[in-house]
């Protein structure tokens, strides 16, 4: 169980988080969706004890982040945005050090298990600097899983990866979900949030502006979107409640139009007037 209440964080004059509150149930996959600079990484850094909040309270499995960071660290796994691996060490050595830091029992067996989970056991003795970006990402995922954390935090787990590798990362996350671990994912990929998350908190300029299951969030805007490019080259969108309404709207526009199902970006646009990218 993760509870966040009134979380606020400032970097000098810039307010990165403003009174952010949410709670996440055990075994839930929770997404933080928003554009760059919305406060997603700051939230993850605070929840994983890397950053101290200026105000507010975070509790994970009954332990307060400010009062018991040591207990929190025993219970969490972190996949940061950067591939922070020791590039001159092998995959196995990277996991060995991490396993020792987290006092993982039966280290050899666990390292084999997690490397097999991400499909890197055969490459265990290869030096990480020879790994592709996708392999490094998978290795970091394996590293985060090594101590069998009750909560896993993934900061932009598939950013910069090609679609095939992204799907592979998603498959691993779905496997983790089956183990009933709590997973917190930050992403600015709409499809990632929709594909993986039970609930999504939409962040904009350091505030949570919406929070619900992806389906229910989309219900707030409508089911279909009719969109076309106007004379000035701007994308114009109309959200419709039904397919019939969308068809009727499309017929009324004397231009080439696209009708598609609404997604979480439409929710974001409705709430902020801006796109997520």
């Amino acid at each position: 169980m993760i509870e966040v209440a009134g979380l606020t964080k400032n970097y000098g004059e810039i307010r990165a988080l403003h009174n952010v509150s949410f709670s996440i149930a055990d075994g839930e996959v929770f997404g933080l969706l928003g554009p760059n600079g919305a406060g997603k990484t700051t939230t993850i850094k605070i929840l994983t004890t890397l950053s101290n909040p200026d105000a507010g309270r975070c509790v994970i499995d009954g332990y307060d982040i400010s009062g018991s960071p040591h207990e929190i660290r025993k219970r969490i796994g972190v996949v940061p945005q950067e591939n922070n691996l020791d590039r001159e060490l092998s995959a196995y050595e990277n996991l060995l050090i991490y396993g020792m830091l987290h006092s993982v029992k039966e280290r050899g067996r666990r390292i084999r298990e997690v490397l097999e989970t991400v499909g890197l056991w055969e490459r265990r003795d290869s030096v990480v600097q020879h790994f592709s970006g996708g392999m490094q990402r998978r290795l970091i995922l394996a590293r985060a899983l090594l101590p069998e954390p009750s909560a896993l935090f993934l900061d932009e787990p598939s950013v910069g990866l090609d679609p095939q590798i992204r799907r592979h990362i998603w498959d691993v996350i779905r496997k983790i979900r089956k183990d009933r671990r709590t997973v917190v994912i930050t992403t600015h990929y709409i499809e990632e949030a929709e594909a993986l998350c039970d609930r999504v908190g939409i962040l904009s300029k350091g505030r949570v502006i919406a929070l619900d299951a992806p389906g229910r969030l989309k219900e707030q805007v409508g089911d279909y979107v009719v969109e076309f490019v106007d004379e000035d080259g701007r994308l114009v969108q109309h959200v419709c409640r039904s397919r019939a309404e969308a068809d009727e709207k499309a017929r009324s526009i004397e231009k080439a139009v696209t009708i598609r199902q609404a997604n979480l970006e439409d929710v974001f646009i409705k709430l902020t007037g801006e796109r997520i990218e």
Binding site: K45, L50, D86, H102
Partner: protein, 249 residues
């Protein structure tokens, strides 16, 4: 001692990386080049015609070069690696987010820095045995060497944690390390230095390393230097641990 449990993986990581570095000749070269240049320029060049306190200049210089080299290597490798690991590679964050104490992180990093400092010092000591007949290694010499490595590896942590960029670490080096290397009695005895300058020189920890490392037994002056070095080492280690404990992004 519970606070220090967890130091070993921090140390082991550095040793695994160090082992890989040792396989590259460029590392050995960079560890050796500066003291060897001084040895050739001052020891063999100037030193042939100079005697200090009745002994050859080379026998005077070698312990100073060992002190300087142990300082440089313990300090630089820790400061530089920690700064890069914290700001660019973000691997330092793995330690901060793991359930080990700040003192354990400090201890593991400092011990690894000591190994690097001792390794470079051993190379100079071997050169000393080969070139300076009056040069000996006493238990006090080894104790001083260990203390010096500990002190400057701890100082390296402070720089590595405080410097806001990798370039910034050079500023710290130029202000603190370079003056110490030249004015702390590495190359010349301090007895003829003007009293005002001497007061400043005696604040520098390397001065006390140089005093202590050249003594065959612990006299009153040596005891004072040992006390100063221990005090510096304790304060710097404590301060470095405190910076790690307060780390927040």
């Amino acid at each position: 001692m519970k606070a220090l449990s967890g130091w070993y993986p921090v140390f082991l990581r550095e040793m695994l990386l160090f082992r890989r570095k040792l396989l590259r000749l460029s590392y050995l070269f960079s560890a050796m080049i500066v003291p060897l240049i001084y040895l050739v320029a001052f020891g063999f060049g100037l030193g042939g015609s100079v005697k200090i306190h009745g002994t050859s200049y080379l026998a005077f210089l070698i312990p100073g070069l060992v002190a300087m080299s142990s300082m440089n290597n313990s300090y630089t490798w820790v400061a530089s690696a920690l700064n890069l690991n914290r700001l660019y590679f973000k691997t330092f964050q793995i330690f901060v987010q793991s359930p080990i104490s700040h003192s354990a992180i400090m201890a593991g990093e400092v011990l690894a820095g000591m190994v690097k400092g001792l390794f470079a010092s051993m190379l100079i000591i071997l050169v000393g045995f080969a070139t300076a007949p009056g040069f000996t290694v006493t238990p006090l010499f080894l104790l001083t060497l260990l203390l010096n490595c500990f002190l400057f590896a701890s100082l390296g942590i402070i720089t590595g944690m405080r410097a806001k960029s990798h370039e910034d670490t050079a500023t710290y080096t130029n202000f603190f390390i370079m003056p110490m290397a030249f004015f702390s009695g590495t190359f010349f005895p301090l007895d003829k230095v003007p009293i005002i300058i001497k007061a400043i020189i005696y604040i520098m920890p390397l001065t006390h390393t140089n005093i202590l490392i050249r003594k065959t037994s612990l006299d009153a002056e040596g005891l004072v230097s040992l006390g100063v070095l221990c005090a510096y080492a304790g304060v710097i280690f404590f301060y470095g641990s405190r910076i790690i404990r307060r780390y927040s992004e």
